[in-house]
Subunit: 259 residues, 2 copies
């Protein structure tokens, strides 16, 4: 299959699409690459945390980076993200939450060339122990509060900032906060602590309860109670997540949190 050096105009004017494609070669454009990078959030010891990989090879060797990798030509970028999630955490994306965040594409963000990054956000339901991958010397969850003391690779500090805001906004109206909880069942207090941790505020106990219970099919009561609290106190009623697609009315942060 020979590729003749035709101008774009001559190409586009071709009679049939077959003829056009025979002479078209994407490689005439500068090389580009596409990656999927993941913000994998979880809550560890009451701290909102994110999974980072210590880069063992160039570029950005020795810096902490978001897990991710190049998109294969036979897969969608969504599939790349799901594959990387599985590789890094062993977590299969089934009914979880894996949402595209934003795409970062500008000259100079990667020394290898024009590398475009499609960022994703996901919530890790279980505190899975990440294992080291191919070019990942080490993998570790970091509390987001401590990230300013780390040297992050590429523009990943910006991506994490955007990812954080997405999660904080999304749990207002999407029933994804229970994904932070390891168990299938949970108490309303446990759910409230998720919101408090992600938003970094404290919420009124009874008002929170009233609001989440008012959402149809959000929380399904289970006929059991938490067996025991560590230090005394009445055990809470257990719930599991229902079929609701939206939290309406949304659980809004106060005006001060927005800005």
């Amino acid at each position: 299959m020979t590729k003749l050096p035709l101008t774009d105009k001559a190409l586009a004017a071709m009679e049939t699409e077959e003829e056009f494609l025979k002479h078209y070669d994407l490689k005439k454009y500068p090389a580009q690459a596409l990656t999927a990078d993941l913000c994998i959030f979880t809550i560890i010891k009451g701290e909102l945390s994110i999974l980072l990989i210590l880069r063992g090879g160039h570029p950005e060797k020795g810096k902490w980076a978001l897990p991710g990798g190049f998109v294969n030509v036979d897969e969608s970028v969504d599939q790349t993200a799901a594959r990387e999630l599985k590789e890094e955490t062993g977590l299969a994306f089934e009914d979880g939450y894996l949402e595209q965040l934003k795409t970062y594409a500008y000259p100079g963000r990667d020394p290898r060339g024009y590398v475009t990054s499609v960022a994703y956000v996901t919530l890790a339901p279980k505190i899975s122990v990440p294992k080291a991958g191919d070019d990942a010397a080490e993998a570790q969850f970091f509390p987001v509060k401590e990230l300013n003391s780390l040297t992050l690779a590429f523009d990943h500090a910006n991506i994490i900032e955007d990812g954080l805001e997405r999660v904080r906004a999304k749990i207002e109206y999407a029933p994804i906060a229970p994904l932070f909880i390891p168990d299938e069942t949970f108490t309303i207090s446990e759910l409230r602590k998720v919101y408090e941790t992600v938003w970094g505020v404290s919420l009124n106990r009874s008002n929170f309860r009233r609001k989440v219970q008012a959402v149809p099919d959000f929380l399904i009561p289970i006929d059991r109670k938490r067996v025991s609290n560590f230090d005394g106190g009445r055990p809470g009623d257990l719930y599991r997540i229902g079929s609701a697609q939206f939290i309406y009315p949304p659980l809004r942060r106060s005006k001060e949190e927005l800005d």
Copy 2:
């Protein structure tokens, strides 16, 4: 500059980043291309409309497509979007609204190869007359209600659907609805008609007024009135947009609109 056929592992293990980059060639991966495509919304004769381009060349010759183009290696995809906006509408993106929507990347969406599309959403403040571009035989605004009778190129029908939902959701809490209005100054009724058009509902006049006026720095009163209504009626007070970054509390659609 010779490129030796080194494995990824051998490459990443290089001592210095300079050495690494000397042997690294992005072209070893399959060719990919990056485009920016625009959902340019405006309101024409009370109809929410979107700008489409009739493709004059292959691929998808003869189908209507979103305006857009390839990203140059010396520019960001945001810059590409702004450049295309200028080229297609003559509209300079200054203080307007041009927001990244979503990235579409999967095999088979473009016959030329793995072409990734980063979609953007913008609101055209003036009903600018689009001119034909390089490979655009014709450019025209279509009411979004009539799109199902058109044959759209690539996966642009999906992109438009996503763009519509973004605009409908965004005007709830972002003060961008006035961008649909050609004038610098406008009445509250004119603003209400924007919401009614975009959401496809009718809104109570006095309640809408009460809510928008309650948002600090959203609408700044001007000491003038609309000179004349076409057909009689009291002229409305004029406002201009203020410095508010958010509409809080948001102007929510009813639960039924959400789905």
